[in-house]
Amino acid sequence: METAPAANPQTGEELLVVENVRKYFPITRGIIFQKEIASVKAVDGVSFSVKPGETLGIVGESGCGKSTLARCIMKLLEATDGKITFEGRDITKLSRPAMRPIRREMTMIFQDPYASLNPRKRVGFIIGEPLEVHGLGSSSEIKRRVQELLEVVGLNPEHYNRFPHEFSGGQRQRIGVARALAVNPKLIVCDEPVSALDVSVQAQILNLLKDLQDDFGLTYIFIAHDLNVVRHISDRVMVMYLGKVVEVASRDVLYREPKHPYTGALLSAVPIANPELGRSRQPIVLEGDVPSPVNPPSACNFHPRCPRFVEGHCDVEDPPLYSFGNGHVAACHYPLERWPMNADEIRRAGERTKSEHPEQPLPA
């Protein structure tokens, strides 16, 4: 039922291609022998690709699978199904030793600056360890490189021998960035790198990441739940819901003309720091909670909460990623006709389009 990843035709120049990746966590039961009775479908058929030098933002709320997806890409978790291609090479089933050299090309920055640094190791060691592991230089060369990196991320190279607890949250996150940069990777996966930071410090890290991308030609996959942050740093954005991709578009297009009702609801939910605008609008407020990934709803997994739900269609036929041109895809049978819409408008439009054939281009 899934159409091919129409939005990301492989032209051969993609840095990373993810095809139909699934990650299911089994739930077992049994007295002596554990039998799988159900599974948590954390990632349920995700496909996308990333070109060198671009930033792909992945946005979604808790339980949508974005962090699990990141770990699957990084091979920190084994995908249950699907294919991951990095620089043209299939890395899905690579053994640990075979993955080693690839880990020099793709690194990760984590969310919690307090938990992702070993508190018993000095900062110099933390940043230099990847270099040591890959055998990239003698100890004096590594030390020099580490000090260089400290400067690049805006820290004092003389703090080489300090411990993580001597730094603030923002500084620790800089250390995390330096560590990810140490091996000169091509791709950096950033898993909510600024969520745990204060707003003023957040800005510092975002600016730093942008600068580094320009200076070193990096490619980012930037995962976040904060739409403002994602907008600021991404070239293209992918929206996930309950393990599936619901929409992908270039940054401006997604924020100006979202097609999927969930994207609309997300955009609508973000409070605007402008009292005149903020108070006069009617945000689209979704009903209920996110359903459990153990038992996702049938067909379109957003249908129980969707203001445009059309019974008999949305709960029966799983929407493929319909294409809207220029790489903009959305998995919805009744995509939004325009934007902005408020709570009433979004519902009314759904009733109207039910009677006529929905105006959407055929899957490419």
């Binding site: 039961r29 049994g30 007295i31 002596i32």
Partner: protein, 325 residues
């Protein structure tokens, strides 16, 4: 819940088999020959050895002996006969168990009283004088050996001050009038005071420390702040919110410790000459009396397993997070 119960029981059976088997093996790998012990050690005469070996079944291969033992236990619930005295092991255990039980349960009540009062008070007033004394008490309790403590208490209170009996056990239900032994409930209690203190000391120390830590940690939880924000008086906050959460893990520990204690509070029984399971086991070992030792081990193992199981079930019951998943 049911599945959990079944799985735990199966594990328990497996555990039981392993423990009894290992005990058997130890006896057989050991250098001493029980038949020799029965016949008087070094001076054992040859005919005696031959007869003892045959009677005790020692001439048969080990697996056969083990199988005989298991069959006898499971089908007849009979632990056999003592190698040394030919007395029924079941009988011996029946006599010794109540002694140990009195010691352990009484001790448990004592250590819980101390643990709760001192632990909670120290947690509510950290770094106060009481708290500091409590921590010193903990240190002593954890470091001091029960034999040492027991002897000191015996000497001070029994010998010097004469406030308590020095040793011995009094049957709760009264001793036979011609045995010259003390009997009856008061004597029972009176004879157990020092043993209780000795036995409970170590556990009291551990529990004071644990309860103090749990309560202190719970006092900082968000839901305690919520309770105060609702306007609840401090006492209600303490009972309904803090203790209810802080003491949950204590239930598990209590069950486990009682189970272990029932296996034989060896040191305390030794010092105070209480004829409980611990004493019995020691005598058995000295006589190389496999039957007795095996009997005590079987009883202790069953007691520990049963108690652990009960405690896990109880915990699963009182913690709604576990009960309702």
């Amino acid at each position: 819940m049911f599945r959990y119960l079944v799985r735990r029981t199966l594990w328990a059976i497996l555990l039981f088999i392993v423990i009894t088997f290992v005990t058997f093996v130890i006896f057989f790998v050991g250098p001493n020959n029980p038949a020799r012990a029965v016949c008087g050690g070094e001076q054992a005469k040859r005919e005696c050895l031959v007869r003892a070996t045959a009677k005790l079944g020692l001439d048969q291969p080990m697996p056969v002996q083990y199988w005989k033992f298991v069959k006898q236990l499971v089908i007849h619930q009979d632990l056999g006969e003592s190698f040394a005295t030919s007395q029924s092991v079941n009988q011996r255990i029946k006599e010794a168990a109540p002694v140990t039980a009195s010691l352990v349960f009484g001790g448990a009540i004592l250590w819980m009283i101390i643990g709760l009062t001192v632990g909670i008070y120290s947690a509510l007033k950290p770094r106060s004088l009481t708290d500091r004394f409590a921590m010193i008490f903990v240190l002593i309790g954890v470091s001091a050996h029960p034999v040492w403590i027991g002897l000191i208490l015996e000497y001070v209170f029994g010998v010097r001050l004469g406030w308590t009996p020095i040793a011995n056990y009094a049957n709760f239900f009264g001793a036979p009038s011609d045995s010259g032994q003390p009997g009856g409930p008061w004597q029972w209690f009176y004879h157990l005071i020092l043993p209780w203190c000795t036995f409970a000391l170590l556990f009291a120390a551990l529990y004071v420390r644990m309860i103090r830590a749990n309560v202190m940690e719970t006092l900082n939880e968000d839901f305690v702040r919520t309770a105060r924000a609702k306007g609840a008086p401090e006492r209600q906050v303490l009972v309904s919110h803090v203790l209810r959460n802080a003491l949950l893990p204590v239930v598990t520990m209590l069950g486990m410790d009682i189970g272990i204690g029932l296996g034989g509070a060896i040191f305390t029984e030794y010092v105070f000459q209480l004829p409980g399971l611990g004493q019995t086991a020691i005598i058995g070992i000295n006589n190389q009396d496999l039957a007795i030792v095996q009997g005590v081990i079987v009883f202790a193992t069953v007691a520990i397993i049963v108690f652990n199981l009960l405690v896990d079930l109880l915990y699963a019951w009182i913690d709604p997070r576990i009960r309702l998943t």
